[in-house]
């Protein structure tokens, strides 16, 4: 549904000059008037935020995993020292 709407806008907007031919803005200003788009921006925005979440969770997972390994090694060492002391 969204894609069909975007295609409709695209065919209307095709006659006008491309958006990125303008000079890059010196300031960010809120929009006034009707909203039209060419390249669909929604997938770009969503991929950007999704990638962030993926990166964050992968990094958290690697820390989690490494901490788990160190803790396991620590426990094994503690068991060894106890056994050594009992002998």
């Amino acid at each position: 549904m969204v894609r069909r709407v975007l295609f409709a806008c695209l065919s209307i907007v095709l006659a006008s000059a491309p958006v990125f031919a303008q000079q890059p803005g010196q300031e960010f200003v809120p929009v006034t008037g009707p909203v039209t788009e060419q390249i669909p921006a929604a997938p770009l925005v969503i991929s950007s935020y999704a990638f962030f979440l993926v990166l964050l969770f992968v990094y958290l997972w690697t820390i989690w995993r490494r901490i788990g390994k160190v803790e396991a090694d620590m426990r094994a060492l503690e068991r060894q020292t106890e056994r050594g002391q009992h002998r």
Binding site: Q26, L44, V45, I67, V70, E71, L77
Partner: protein, 221 residues
């Protein structure tokens, strides 16, 4: 300090959960429309990156000149964060640029220098991993050089006017687009909180590793 960790994690999680809602609500920008919304995390990640570079630079200095082990832990933790936030910054910038500039990549001065920063800190991690014994010092040298070149990245868009938005955008944002300014502050705050939490977690890993080494050494006696 440790007691603060879990409550802060909850705060951070809440902030990030609310962020998409806030981003959806903020009005569209006039020239770039929807794709400009990438900006809120894009700017925040570069702020987080700057913070991480500052930490790494200071930690490297202390580690190299004072031989402090704790400083070394903070160095490696912050270097990892620099790479992660840097990669996300470049990726989000690339997606934004695809729409706003028409290309996936452009060798604009700031993009070039930012890529260079990520590479320098990747080198930091490489030398620690593959440099053999004593590589903490070599890595510290990389950290210092990386931190020294960071100010040039900020200034790059002022000196060489090119395709990337200049620093005047941020300076005028408060007056021209107050809703965006508030959201930028919110996202930057969330990201900086994330830096603090991730640093804490990663340094804890290093501290545990050091403890493990100490236990091994004690066992050998």
């Amino acid at each position: 300090m440790k007691k603060l960790f879990v409550p802060l994690v909850i705060v951070a999680a809440a902030m990030f959960a609310y962020a998409p809602v806030a981003i959806n609500k903020v009005p569209l920008e006039s020239t770039m429309l929807l794709v400009q919304k990438i900006f809120y995390f894009h700017f925040a990640t570069w702020m987080a990156l700057t913070a991480a570079i500052a930490v790494c630079g200071v930690a490297s200095l202390i580690s190299l000149f004072k031989g402090s082990k704790v400083a070394d832990w903070y160095g490696v933790a912050s270097a990892e964060l620099v790479v992660i936030f840097g990669v996300f910054g470049l990726f989000s910038g690339s997606l934004w640029g695809r729409k706003a500039w028409g290309v996936w990549w452009q060798w604009d001065p700031r993009v070039t220098m930012a890529t260079m920063l990520v590479l320098i800190f990747l080198g930091y991690l490489m030398v620690r991993k593959y440099g053999g014994p004593g590589s903490e010092k070599l890595a510290a040298a990389m950290g210092i050089f990386g931190a020294a070149t960071a100010p040039f990245v900020y200034k790059a868009t002022d000196w060489w006017r090119n395709i990337h938005p200049p620093t005047t955008v941020m300076r005028t944002l408060g007056e021209k687009f107050p809703a965006a300014w508030d959201l930028v502050l919110y996202c930057t705050g969330a990201f900086l909180l994330l830096v603090v939490l991730l640093l804490a977690a990663r340094v804890r890993l290093e501290a545990m590793r050091a403890e493990l080494d100490r236990m091994y050494l004690a066992l050998e006696d």
